[in-house]
Symmetry: C2
Subunit: 418 residues, 2 copies
Amino acid sequence: MTTVQDYMTTLGRQARQASKALAKANTGMKNQALLAMAQVIDDQRETLKQANQRDLAAGRAKGLEPAMLDRLELTDARIDTMIEGLHQVAGLADPVGGITDLEFRPSGIQVGKMRVPLGVIGIIYESRPNVTVEAASLCIKSGNAVILRGGSESIESNQALAACIHAGLDQAQLPGTVVQVVETTDREAVGALITMPDYVDVIVPRGGKALIERISQDARVPVIKHLDGICHVYIDDDADVAKAIPIAINAKTHRYGVCNAMETLLVAQSRAAEMLPELARAFADKGVELRGCDRTAELIDCVPATEADWTTEYLAPVLAIRVVAGLDEAIDHINTYSSQHTDSIVTENYTRGRRFLTEVDSASVMINASTRFADGFEYGLGAEIGISTDKIHARGPVGLIGLTSQKYVVLGDGQIRE
Amino acid sequence: MTTVQDYMTTLGRQARQASKALAKANTGMKNQALLAMAQVIDDQRETLKQANQRDLAAGRAKGLEPAMLDRLELTDARIDTMIEGLHQVAGLADPVGGITDLEFRPSGIQVGKMRVPLGVIGIIYESRPNVTVEAASLCIKSGNAVILRGGSESIESNQALAACIHAGLDQAQLPGTVVQVVETTDREAVGALITMPDYVDVIVPRGGKALIERISQDARVPVIKHLDGICHVYIDDDADVAKAIPIAINAKTHRYGVCNAMETLLVAQSRAAEMLPELARAFADKGVELRGCDRTAELIDCVPATEADWTTEYLAPVLAIRVVAGLDEAIDHINTYSSQHTDSIVTENYTRGRRFLTEVDSASVMINASTRFADGFEYGLGAEIGISTDKIHARGPVGLIGLTSQKYVVLGDGQIRE
């Protein structure tokens, strides 16, 4: 009997092999595979929905929460979105093979950098089956083989999607092992996947903080991830009220359960009396609970904020508010409590805006824009495999470029070192 | 009594704090610090040499090998090189703060990327004290605080150099904690340094393979490293003999103990009878031992090569030689046995050169150039902190850019997400 470890090693070996074939595939072949997948998914709607129904039935029987069942469901609209996503990724520029900065050196050699796939990506995610197609498409386009490990609740849906993906790869004469969906729901598979540096080059975990923390802790390969999205908006002394109010409202209330939503609002003391009552009314209309510092509590009704509020990602209609003396205190607060995801200043002041951009050490820093813009589509990456709050390799939304690296190319004419 | 762990945590906390001050420092201040250090080192030559003499005496008493004692010694020439290195790094362009790709998005926001320091770098190295100054200078210029852990044999020299570095930082009004040299020779300090993700963002180990392997295994933060330099030269069917012979000789014999020296020579079968006898004579003149495959042994005198020879980094006058059918077999051999450091093809054939660049998955791929060119200075990086054979973040020689990352900057005019 094969152990889970053996099974994962086999997937790993196959992925490494497939990554070599894929690295050689040209853009046309990769796009052909993506468009063929879109067509097969369209043709196989009923099969996909039947497989998904089996997952939903099992989920209901297990007593999964309604929110989880909702994420799990494959509706026609969601299938349309998947198909559209495949067309979009096919339409993105191929990052692989591009050579930049090719310049002559004094020795006569030319030195440049060529963009190349990372190799094999391991993706670990929870119940949403559309991630299977989204992640596979980004990996294929960036020339990487991928091993996908979805949640056990979506196993039937994922296997059905895998069949469509394989049909598409086959039509483009690419090996099916370019995209492998783990067929066991055994948790040991995750442990194996994140500890095979010979076969897996990077892990991208998508899901709740607990999952990502556990994976980062145990992984023996690099992990592209963010744990928290504790994002701030700072309303500066020189903020334009006509920008500050809509940005603060939008950053908090546009969607609550997302990592780029604002969790703490900082307001310069000189503007607090003017802004906070108006903001409090707007947040009350939206049903947002406010937790304020002492100075905030002098101006509006709010729950007293505790130290824990500065480090909590509510992902809910709750907002922490702090009045600060000015920019220095705002930057200190952010660099102390922020999860280095996305932070925004609202100001008309050139020097303070410039300082905020330079001194706030977060993956995305903004002036006069809602933190909700921190997103692969909004940034023009076309799509994102995830968002990174780490400092090496990639920060912020990670698209095709983040799934590649650069190697040096040297073009000589017989040069030797003297 | 402070434990080693407490001591290292203190260094870590201080480094994190210092990194914030340094990130704000402008180019002029950083260059001033580097040039002041150069001046202090020049003024303190005698003190430095006395400290070094104490290390050398202790080393001799401990029975260190002559090669080790040589690496440890600080001569006037080596001090001159350090001073020159500081001037060179001061002369390099400052990578920090540069904004690229700033473009308008349909929403009206502008999105670009700003180059930023990684934060705190931990460097672990062996006996050469000049690494102390070299590494410190690259970290300062790239805006990173650094914790340096040199070999216990060079502790006196490193402390004396640290005093010069601190005097230089002081003159530029930068905190001395920007560069901290670990004062204990306790090995536990290394273990602590590589497991403080809150205080250290990346580790760069420099030294022997055993040291680097151990660090990579135990580190809880990203490591920029290479383990082996098993570099190849492939002499293709269409090689120009006037380039092939000098490149093969230079790649092997220019220096033996370096990571970018050729360890295996691959020769296309169609050229073996012509090239190998001439190469064998040249290598014999240099005293290089040849270990050949069966087909090689039919053409020249050599030791029979075993499987182990394809995976050995000799760092010595020994060369493995294999005759291959052609490009496909050469690429297969390289992608199987290479350490993904540096590999070169000698050919006049356009298509095979193009394929080699694309299909060989190594940090540096070359056409018609000696592998010895894989070096930060030769590539125009100005200097290198190390060479990476990893795939994420940085591949190949790592200079100032490799010690930085990019964050997103978003410039808006009050935009909110609809």
